[in-house]
Symmetry: C2
Amino acid sequence: MNVVFIGSGNVATHIAKAFKASGANITQVWSKHREHATALSVLVDAQVIPDLENIDPSADLYVIAVKDDAIAAVSCALSAVNGTVVHTSGATDISVLSGIRNFGVIYPLQTFSKDTAISFTNVPLCIEAKDSNLLGELKEIAGQLSPLIYEVDSERRRILHLAAVFACNFVNHLYTLSDRVLQHNGLNFELLKPLIAETALKVQTQAPVTVQTGPAVRNDVETMAKHLDLLVDMPELKEIYQTLSSSIKKHTNC
Amino acid sequence: MNVVFIGSGNVATHIAKAFKASGANITQVWSKHREHATALSVLVDAQVIPDLENIDPSADLYVIAVKDDAIAAVSCALSAVNGTVVHTSGATDISVLSGIRNFGVIYPLQTFSKDTAISFTNVPLCIEAKDSNLLGELKEIAGQLSPLIYEVDSERRRILHLAAVFACNFVNHLYTLSDRVLQHNGLNFELLKPLIAETALKVQTQAPVTVQTGPAVRNDVETMAKHLDLLVDMPELKEIYQTLSSSIKKHTNC
């Protein structure tokens, strides 16, 4: 299978490496950022193309992994290809690709960072296609990367993406804030790492609402007041502390 | 070593089991909740005492693991003992025990839930003692439970406890909220589990601020607007979304 990549960021890089590892050929890489395209092309042994007009129209699969607001523009350049064109965005409707002959979505529900290797066998891939024939094909293609294949339409994919913002992006930011609190007081983030790992591990087997701990769920007013005192120099963290604590109280009692 | 437990909740139970496993004898358990005391006593082969007045004054160690606001009251009953008395609270000053001959703190920086086994070898234990002699003793005692022993005074322990609220309690609540978003739309929390695991794994080796992903850090205004639209029926989640997104934008740019 010959695959062309449009985009060369974290998502493109991780998916391209996974396709390569599954035995596919990555034939071309295009990116607005030429130096990123070059870096990816070296990793997966592909050719960099300077313009989308140079795209090979005979590839089997075209993977669009660019910023959401650039998908529409790059897809115009793919209107003449015969192969299947997929985008990889959680928040973007499949219809953005409707000017293309065969189109679909492969949305990897995972967080990808530079320099962090990911085992794709543990990445849920949410797929959608313009029709059921193509859906069958995409299932097979995506199945070469991961056993966790889910059919998810655009509406539900948007919801998943939103839930992922809470469970990943916001969670990571709370890690950052805890690190700030520690640094502000000369303490090391290292001490929190076992706690962070255990907190994520618990919800792999139990519903999060059932394993909530801490002063808010106990309605331990005294401890919460002490914590707010400690945040007197950090008004932004104080607001977040109050907002989340009052939300915990609400959700636990209903 | 003979150890008496005051309290029989999650923290008491996990520490008592760890002491038992390390070869100590748990001789007595007292709790305001008689049936919890009985359950713990069965687990660690100890005697339940109905009143604190029945406490054995000759034990080596007394572990107080009750609600923070009850520590002062139970410690009064321990003023005559010869052994070392420790509390296990992150938010409580060591001075609450100052009426006792030998006193200190062993604060396990971990989240403990009923029905979730914990390997204590991966639990940081923050210790403090009334003097350096006792600190040495506590190091040895705590060292039988975990290799991760840190000397942390009351002021810094309070900070750690606060940071843990962000990195654990608030994080777990975000898992709960993401579950709500999914349930509200007929989707399964299962799909988010690899993402949750990976998000916690990444910060074991990288500073969280360096691995932040998502629409807020990219300042992807369009996606954030779409997400807020999806939360129109959930005003509380909408507020949290806005608060955390604007915090992400601030912290990433500084």
